[in-house]
């Protein structure tokens, strides 16, 4: 029955089915009669190294040309939105940060902005907190774009790029760890403030990083931009123009690579982005190459913003003044992770009964949020990240929905892939930068 040592085949009612494991394409093509079997349906994923996590693509091929592409998602659905309804508003941060695991800070900020808007306290967020939020969102954008560069490099055959990209990202994760105690899934941005202030050691690391990365960026460009394989794999591949982007709801670097400078940091600013000087990079090629250029330029713009944020970082409170919302204790980073500071524990356990009651009520029960609904959007590394939060007046969210850019952007795969070559599906899919944790939530 089996005609080769690699691809096992069996007859089904839908036709002959091959189970491939890689490196066995020749054995399939040799066992198919090209005249009677022009069409092949390839099931790519959900476990495939180049689909960025558990994305499954059902591709119909004629020769090497894709005639139909159908993305199948949901393999990483964890019910985060449902879970949020059973936790209080502050605990929600712990969940939303796990959605898009390459952009934890952006997820957290979007959620907190929504809660703060529901509470009506957006203006009361302290300047230091806003500055730190901006700084960390931009560091997160750099980290996310570096992972994009790393994985795309790997998928298009530039393996060394993967090693470099992940190496530089680790630098940023170190900064996050220094500040929040965790590399990823930080739970650092909280409604009304931040879990704790940025330590001086992290500031020093950020300053070092600002000097370190530009040199490395030049190296990457020297390695990739002039490379003939890189150019041919990206230029003119997976083209999607502005009309296509808007119809399919595509935002972020993909939309900007088509020439529309739509960036929520400029067009609908939040967290004080209007006070920073930066450009919105665009390209006009609308292909994978353009997306590469846009992302590289965005890393440089983010570095500019981080530098400005460092300069305007003045000492001050990080929590909102309203004691009914602000977290009752200053958290401190101990040897075993983030926890209540020892001074605070001494106070509530030994000195002040009222402080203990206040702490207990706020931590177990949480604060109440007036009924209503809001939609808040931030510019996520992948596009518009929107949070639709509904409150019924209780201490738990009534409904929180994430408009995830990965989810929406993945709809573009058929538009990019159909009519193109199989190899370009990889390049096109990678250029969307989907993160399945965010897509499936």
């Amino acid at each position: 029955m089996t005609t080769s040592e690699y691809a096992a085949e069996r007859e089904t009612t839908e036709g002959r089915v091959f189970t491939v494991t890689g490196g066995d394409w020749d054995s399939i093509t040799s066992s198919i009669d090209p005249l009677s079997n022009e069409k092949i349906v390839v099931n790519m994923g959900p476990q495939h190294p180049s689909t960025h996590g558990v994305l499954r693509l059902v591709l119909e091929l004629e020769g090497e040309t894709v005639t139909e592409a159908r993305p199948v998602i949901g393999y990483l659905h964890t019910g985060i939105e449902k879970n949020l309804e059973y936790r209080n508003w502050t605990q929600g941060v712990t969940f939303v940060t796990r959605m898009d695991y390459l952009a934890n800070m952006s997820n957290e900020v979007a959620y907190c902005l929504a809660v703060e808007k529901l509470l009506g306290v957006t203006d009361q967020i302290t300047e230091r907190t806003n500055t730190i939020r901006v700084m960390f969102m931009e560091l997160q954008r750099i980290a996310s774009h570096l992972v994009w560069l790393a994985t795309t490099g790997m998928e298009l055959g530039a393996i060394s790029m993967m090693l470099y990209g992940f190496r530089e990202r680790e630098y940023i994760l170190d900064i996050f760890e220094e500040t929040s105690g965790l590399r990823m899934n930080n739970g650092y941005i909280r409604p009304g403030g931040l879990a704790q202030d940025v330590p001086e050691s992290a500031i020093r690391k950020i300053r070092d990083f600002l000097k370190y990365l530009p040199k490395k960026l030049k190296e990457y460009e020297a390695m990739l931009s002039g490379q003939i394989i890189w150019q041919q794999r990206t230029q003119g591949v997976a083209v999607l123009d502005v009309t296509g982007c808007l119809a399919l709801g595509i935002t972020g670097p993909v939309l900007r690579s088509a020439g529309l400078p739509w960036d929520l940091r400029k067009t609908m600013p939040y967290c004080g982005y209007e006070n920073y000087e930066f450009d919105v990079p665009t390209a006009t090629t609308a292909d994978v190459w353009g997306r590469y250029l846009v992302r590289m330029a965005e890393i440089r713009e983010s570095l500019k913003i981080v530098e400005q944020a460092l300069d305007r970082l003045k000492p001050g409170p990080i929590w909102i003044e309203d004691k009914k919302i602000a977290w009752p204790s200053q958290l401190a980073l101990g040897l075993d992770g983030l926890g209540n500071s020892l001074e605070h524990v001494a106070k509530i356990m030994g000195q002040s009964m009222e402080s203990l009651i206040h702490h207990f009520k706020l931590v177990t029960e949480g604060f109440r949020v007036p009924p209503g609904q809001v939609y808040v959007a931030v510019e996520h590394p992948r596009g518009e990240l929107g949070v639709h939060a509904v409150s019924d007046g209780g201490t738990h969210p009534y409904r929180v929905h994430y408009r995830e850019p990965s989810f929406v952007n993945l709809q573009a795969i058929p538009a990019m892939a159909e009519g193109a070559l199989l190899a370009d599906v990889i390049a096109g899919g990678a250029s969307l930068d989907p993160v399945m944790g965010g897509c499936d939530r």
């Binding site: 998602i73 879970n83 059973y86 939609y375 209780g394 929905h401 989810f407 929406v408 709809q411």
Partner: protein, 235 residues
């Protein structure tokens, strides 16, 4: 005669609130299953006001008046289509009758003084027991030309279909599928309304308020922690 649970018989009053326990079927009713008085705790005299949504008076402020006037001019049947206009927290929500939503979206997208080119998000909310038409679908529209946002909202009872907006906004394709998957709202005219996040053979619609979260009790340092939907809630 059958015995209603919770009223008499072996089941103590309030023991069966229906899952999930944390979200009482009515916001008037507290944890202990008390009916009618609007008493939250069952013991105190606290009255929990029902979160009502009121029509906002003109002028709405900001660009909201411009949007409404432009929409009225471009879509003469607007008074029939619109149920309520709500301005809250500097956001405009137009409550649209379900049968008109696709037409309103078409006008919102195409009219030169509206130009809502991008449908940012479509999602559902289940207002179980607080609204006769329990399922609300919210459409967040963005005008890139004018840098404006407007939310359209439709409300339907169970089993009532909503016209699909995929012909106007192809991006709503997956998002409507998600609303169908999570809430069971059927979008008429959708090209391929199948489940998207849950497996194809899944039973039930997980984001509905009467769908339990599930989970098992966990023992932690000798104490048993109930699953999240059976823990105490402070409503």
């Amino acid at each position: 005669m059958s015995i209603e649970p919770g009223t008499q018989g072996s089941v103590p009053a309030g023991a069966e609130l229906g899952a999930p326990a944390q979200t009482p079927p009515s916001p008037d009713k507290g944890m202990f299953g008390v009916k009618g008085t609007g008493d939250v705790s069952g013991f105190g005299r606290l009255v929990r006001p029902r979160p009502a949504v009121f029509d906002s008076p003109r002028p709405y402020g900001g660009y909201f008046d411009d949007v409404y006037d432009a929409l009225e001019e471009a879509y003469p049947a607007l008074s029939e289509a619109i149920e309520k206009v709500v301005v809250d927290r500097a956001e405009l929500t137009l409550h649209v009758r379900a049968e008109h939503i696709a037409e309103v979206c078409q006008v919102m997208r195409d009219d030169a003084s509206l130009r809502f080119e991008l449908c940012s998000s479509v999602d559902g909310v289940d207002y179980l027991s607080s609204d006769e038409r329990r399922f609300h679908v919210a459409y967040q529209l963005t005008s890139m030309t004018y840098r404006r946002r407007v939310r359209l909202e439709v409300a339907v009872a169970e089993g009532v279909t909503v016209p699909s907006v995929t012909r106007v906004y192809p991006t709503a394709d997956w998002q409507e599928r998600e609303v169908y998957d999570m809430f069971g709202v059927v979008f008429a005219g959708h090209p391929n309304l199948t489940r998207i996040l849950m497996p194809d053979d899944w039973e039930g619609h997980p984001q509905r308020k009467d769908y339990p979260l599930g989970g098992v009790p966990v023992e932690y340092k000798g104490a048993e922690i109930p699953p999240p939907d059976q823990r105490r809630v402070y409503q």
